[in-house]
Symmetry: D2
């Protein structure tokens, strides 16, 4: 299981969370990555934790003021990127273009979607993984893997039918080791989480619990 | 073969094109539809031609000022809608939402894409058809079916692999009966065209030539 | 006072509301317009009521699939258009471009904004009027003219400071003749309303009450 | 005169340009800032040059994956931000929201626009400066200050009429000390430039020439 911690625009200390994630990854052997604001990528990557961008733009080098260039986030230490998060929905053609951009910069990719149909559509574009996150569960206390297990199973099946090289992740409400174990049983090979770690008083303790079920 | 004439925002007389299309459809037995500006839907549908919208918004009834409500275009006589045209790219989640909206209003759907990957992604969302239109050929003199036949064949294969209930259309540069015949041979069951008819001095003659190859 | 009834995407009968508006305008001498979905413009204009579009795109004739062409809504009977409604926010450059498009098609224009700063910015682009509508009051029971009178007064002052040829309208929560009278006293020369009329069991009675305070 | 060097998504070495800009600013006393990709902000700021963001999102701390948080770019060393560049046009309401965000993070602001009307609209929102850049001149060899001097003068007048606390900058085609001097004579107090420096073989020499006219 891959645990990807999305720091969004939360008022947390990104280096403190990154340091905790690095330590828990080392002590447990679990794969944990942290995805901060683009401007915080160098500081987060500097801790040694696996570092992801939250987005890259569907562009290459050129006249693209205000874009998030894949090559620039890679320079800054990112090795992967989220795309099409429910808080940052992209045009279908731009998901395709951003995947090409990520590919040129050797970034791993996870494309988000709301439901099995969108997960299948995303899988057709050839990312490394697709994450299904029902918007109504994001930021809440109920994990998708327990509140709506069929959406995870159906997404896993839909993705496999389109392209079985694409992994399925799930997100929305994941906050405990039990949630992670439930996600794995439903066919997910990764989880996205955010506030459960980023807003925790003790991120290290939360991360230890999360990976305990792996 | 289905011939769908997209009037875009061209300075043509939509009723004159619609009348020509209705007559040629009747005399040839070919299926021809016309897709005007939303404000012209009632006048176009009033000719008796099969009438399509150029877009519907991913919304239902409610507080959506400036949207294009699927139920309103259906009221006005549309029986189908284009979605995600290269001049009107939608977010992946909104292609999904607009397909749901079209379904509630009993509209047929054609989702556009640039390439086989995007065609496959669109097919995963369950439209009636997917149209592949390489942007560099739109509005030009070279037909996709002759200039870039592999993109049509590859799209047909990619769509069939995802969902073989979804038809493949092609567009971009289609303007003659030969182009239509070439498209059919490559696996397309419909063509999108626009300027070739809308800007013609004699749309009726162009349409007669187009359907001659069917 | 100008009373502009925005039908949004509500499940109302646009012709019934338009007929009521036409009748109340005639009997009272008040200026009342109705703004339906683009596909309903011909039917609404056919009643004889003053008819407005909810939006026009920042384009002229050309390759703009899915756009709302100013010339097309004018053809269909519209004499004015809303722009930048809070449910359909436009880029600053596109407000400018849509105003140019409306001008070419001889459409009157009302640009919406949330607050006095945005109202002043909109006024700098030279529309016929600017409408201030605090988003938190839209669709509610409290009228902006009573719940937040200073925003109307401040907007009137801000607009006048930038361009005193531009009228100020207000919207959000307007539903009675008292609200209209209060808006007029604060410096507004028009009101936008929507659900209060569109969802009324008896739109004619609501409109009669609305214009009673003029 | 303020010289703001926008590195866009160019394939340049941002630290090399920043070091040159820092040195030329020190030796000449001119104010020069560099605006890199968000992911490069820490490295650029680390040189000691005045550092600007290319964009900030209209959000505060919270659930905004993929946003560019003003507080994060400030953390990373930015002291100002461009907004609404022609390559990154924002909704009118979002220009307003991004200015609020920049203000909370103590960032200086320059809002871009195409023409005098848009410059006036931007000025009404209260940024520190407005930059007028005719899109047809961006990236070209003709400077706005020589190719289209009236647009600079008219913008200066339009901005002053709305809010005379707001400075006027100009951009598009500025590449020499003469261009800078011409811009200053037309009423500009700053210039935006990009490819002229970022793509130069010797950025230091170009910057020395640029500030020679100040």
């Amino acid at each position: 299981m891959f645990v990807l911690v999305n720091l969004k625009a939360y008022p947390c200390d990104p280096v403190a969370v990154a340091t905790a994630a690095r330590d828990v990854a080392e002590e447990s052997g679990a794969r944990i990555a942290v995805s901060p604001q683009a401007a915080h990528l160098p500081a987060v990557a500097g801790t040694g934790v696996e570092t992801w961008a939250q987005h890259v733009s569907p562009v290459g080098h050129g006249s693209h003021t205000g874009s998030t260039l894949a090559e620039a986030v890679a320079d800054a230490g990112a090795v992967g990127t989220l795309l099409n998060h429910s808080e940052n929905r992209l045009k279908l053609a731009d998901v395709d273009g951003s995947l090409d951009a990520a590919d040129r910069a050797d970034l791993e990719t996870v494309v988000c979607g709301n439901n099995p149909d969108q997960a299948a559509a995303a899988a057709a574009l050839g990312p490394d993984a697709v994450a299904v996150e029902p918007p109504e569960l994001i930021g809440g206390d109920d994990s998708v893997a327990t509140a709506d297990p069929s959406i995870v199973e159906d997404s896993a099946a839909a993705v496999a039918a389109v392209n079985d090289d694409v992994d399925l992740f799930c997100g929305a409400g994941v906050s405990t080791g039990e949630d992670v174990a439930a996600a794995a049983e439903l066919g997910a090979s990764g989880v996205l989480l955010a506030s459960g770690v980023a807003k925790a008083e003790d991120p290290r303790a939360v991360l230890r619990d999360l990976v305990s079920g792996i």
